[in-house]
Structure formats: C-alpha cells, structure tokens
Amino acid sequence: MKSLQLLEYGELNECLAFNEIDKPIVRSQDVLIEVKAAAINPIDKSIIAGNLRALLPIPLPATLGYDVSGVVVEKGADAAGFEIGDLVYARVPQEQMGTLAEFVAVAAEAVSKKPANISFEEAAGLPLVGLTALQSLNHVGIKEHDKILIHAGSGGVGSFAIQYAKSKGAYVYTTTSAANVAWVKELGADRVIDYTHEDYKAIVSDVDCVFDTLGKHFTLDAFDVIKAGGKIVSVAGPLDERSAQMFGMSDYRLPVDFVTRCAEKKATYAFIFMHPNGAHLNEITELVEGGSIRPIVDHVYPFSKAIDAFLHLASGRAKGKIIVRM
C-alpha cells in the first residue's frame, strides 16, 4: 500500500518519502481502516525534526500520522462495537502511528463512529485536538458558569477548546492575533483578546481555570490570573509529577516556582498527555452531530502533495486543520 514515511530525522523536504509498504497486521483487538483522510499535526513536525526521539523512540523508516477518518474494512475477532462498512475516526495509539497510508490498523477501543453530518476530511482533523481539549478541560471539571482563559484560540486545540467550554456553559476568554479575532469570536468565545494590541493580564482575573497550550512564561503567568483555588491545565508547560510517573521518572518533582505559586494561591497545576480514547471520541461525535462543535479545516491536500501539506503546517499560517485526502 502507499504510505508517507519518515526515513531519517531532519528537514521536512529532505527526509520524507512516498513508499510502497505491506498492509498493516490486524490484531484480534484491531479494526482495519481504509483511510479516506488523515490530519497532520504539530507533533508530526516535531517527530520529523527528531525533537521527540528520546520520548517517543520509533524505528525508522516510519509511516507518519496519528489522526484518521475512514471506513472499517476488516476487524479482529475481539474488536467490539464496529461492523465492516462503519465510517469511523480515531487518534491512533503511538505504536500504531501511520495514518498517512491507504490502510491503518487501530485498536477498536481508540476508534469511534465519525459524526454523520461532516465529511471524512472534516472528521480527520478532530481526534487529536479534540481529545487534547476534552481531556484537559474535563481534568479541571469545566462546568456551567466557570470562567476560563484559553490561550491561542485560533489554534487547533484552542479552537476546539473554546467550543467545548461553551458547550458546557462556561464563560470563555481567549487570546489570538488581530487577523483571527473575527472568526475566533464566531466560535463562541465571550471575550477575544487581541494580544497584539491588548495585555490579557489587564483584562483577565480571578478565572476558575486556565488552559495553557503555549508553554514558556505563559504557564507560570497563569497563576497571575486564576482565582484562589483555581486550576491550571497545560499541554505545553512542565510535566507534573503524575505525568512524569507515566514515563518512569519517579524522581521528578514539579519546578519549585510552580510549587510556590500553587501554595500561594491554593491552586492546582496539571500537565495532560492526551491519550487515544474511543469513548471520549463518542462524546465528541455527539457534540458535532448536535451542532455544538464544528470542525475547522484550513486546506485539503491530495496524498500526492502530502509533503506540501507539511510545509504548509510549518509556515504557521494555517487557520484550522491541514488535511491529506487519500
């Protein structure tokens, strides 16, 4: 089958190749998905550059891609909940990475029926960003009337998080650049802060939670805007001790300045590693079919132009997901 593979770590336009490889093996717990569309994500770029080789060692050459939408064409004996012909989507487990190919085998528990009212291309862009946002906001227990600051509202995770938080009835502050203010407002954010002209710290205060997708100083700065007893959840800041344990780092301790700020504000800080989860995707399916969340696609590339898709992602100019159509 056709696939897009990473041959060695390096530059985007030098280390990717279209290769003909064997169809994946379908374990008893897997479904085999005929890929109709796959999304590319910033993590793919990081993998290609070799930035994650210590954290996520992968044998090379490796087929790229975590997000998929397609049709179930085969299922293992223990793969429950799906029939041949079902239209599905998933963020595949790490060891099954490889959605930029004609077929991908995925553990059934990571798969969900795709929302019926959107296309394969729109569905493919949802799993990674949706699971990241949902798992993060559920970790802080987002609920009606909560006030939340969601950074980078125009990003894939941020734009989903805004819609998810609004579906829960929260009041949403978000930050974005001037060029994106109008469409981010259409997502439902209550107060859109143009960070090129406004200082969000002068506008946001005493919020119940901050969802940080930016990292760097933004993570620690979150303590300045949360209320006493507030919650910070991050996918870009330092690990917390719970997530470090997952990687066998039993001696890891949260940085001292975080410990100090948590104590000062009686606040909590958590780092979330998004994990594949079909049940969570089922919730996302319900929200999309119900109209609470809509996918945002910037551009669809045919598979033959998949490398161009990565270059587009690297440009940082995408407003929405970049999708590859098989």
Binding site: K36, K114, A116, N117, I118, E121, E289, G290, G291
Partner: protein, 197 residues
C-alpha cells in the same frame, strides 16, 4: 372490545380501498411478520442486498445515504402508517443505495419484497391498494420537490413539523437539517426565530 393486531389493522386499511378474497387475506396474513425494532437498529444497510419492505405501525424509521465525502443525507422519515424500503434497489435489482435505521423503538410489519410482489400476480384485486400506496408516495415526493422550489426554509420546517408532530423528540438536528436541505446553523436560527414569535 378486543384490540386488533397490527396486521388486522393493516388489512382493514387494505379492505377500505379494495375488496379482498378470503384467500388473499389469508395469504397476506401469512407473509406479514410483526416485529419490534430497537432504537439504533439498522434494517437496511447501504450496499446490502434488499429484500424487505416495512410497514410502520409505531415509532420512527429514517432512510439516508452517505455521499462520497462521508456526509449523511436524510431521504425520508417513516412513522405510523408509512411504508419504508429502498425502492431504488428493489426496482433496479441493485444493492442498497440507502441505509434504513430505527430512530426510536418501533413496531413494523415486515414483508418479503418478492412475496409481496407475488400478491399482485396471485390476487389481482390487491393491485389498486398497491397503486394507492405508490401514488400517495409520489404525491408526497412531488409536494416536497415543489415546496423545495417555492417555500422558504422556515415554511418548509413548519410543514415538516405539521407532518411529523412528535418527530423532534427522536431526531438529531442534522437529520432534520439534511432532510430540509439546509445547514444545522440555519435550522438553529429558524428555531430561535420561532421561539421569539
């Protein structure tokens, strides 16, 4: 007073239009199978061989197709006293173009399509009833096409509610939006305006 079974009720409807011989009645009763269908069940799946026709006696069925891009499009809802199948597949002897699903727990009378067709050969007096069902269906489709051409989305939504009074309890927004040929956002706007009035 003894309640009629669903099959007896259907026979009453048939006999209100045509005179059936006892043999024809007996044959129809013999090929009619009363069945309960659970919410979410799929009766016909796109791509399957089709050999069943359903007469709905309670609940709601929906037929839809999925286009190449993966989006669903609702063709029809069937509630009490409506017939449902994939007539494109039956007429052309092809695999199903449509999927028929149960939107809420339903009761149907299931007929084998070929056996129901044989009724026309064996008992020609049945033919006017078959013609009546098909004409009623054609009238419904023609009205829907004309409404699509002439009425606003809001007017078509109101007609939809008039035709299917309880259906919103069992349907998703996108089912209705796609049936009306509008976006979910438009449907939400129409509903909001209705509430204001």
């Amino acid at each position: 007073m003894q309640l009629k079974t669903a099959v007896e009720e259907l026979l009453s409807k048939v006999k209100s239009i045509v005179s059936l011989s006892p043999q024809a009645e007996g044959y129809l009763v013999g090929i009619a199978k009363e069945t309960r269908i659970s919410k979410g069940s799929v009766l016909i799946r796109q791509g399957d061989v089709v050999n069943k026709i359903y007469f709905v006696t309670g609940g709601c069925l929906r037929s839809y197709c999925v286009d190449q891009s993966g989006r669903e499009h609702t063709l029809q809802f069937a509630v009490k006293d409506w017939w449902m199948s994939d007539y494109i597949a039956l007429h052309n002897n092809e695999r199903a173009t449509l999927t028929v699903e149960c939107l809420n727990d339903a009761t149907v009378i299931e007929f084998n399509a070929q056996k129901l067709n044989e009724v026309l050969t064996l008992f020609p007096e049945y033919e006017p009833f078959q013609r009546y069902i098909l004409e009623r269906h054609v009238v419904s489709l023609h009205k829907r096409i004309l409404n699509q051409m002439q009425l606003t989305a809001s007017e078509r939504y109101q007609l939809f509610l008039d035709q299917y009074p309880d259906i919103e309890r069992h349907t998703r927004n996108y089912h209705i939006a796609s049936f009306l040929g509008i976006t979910q956002e438009s449907l939400s706007r129409i509903r909001a305006e209705k509430v204001k009035r």
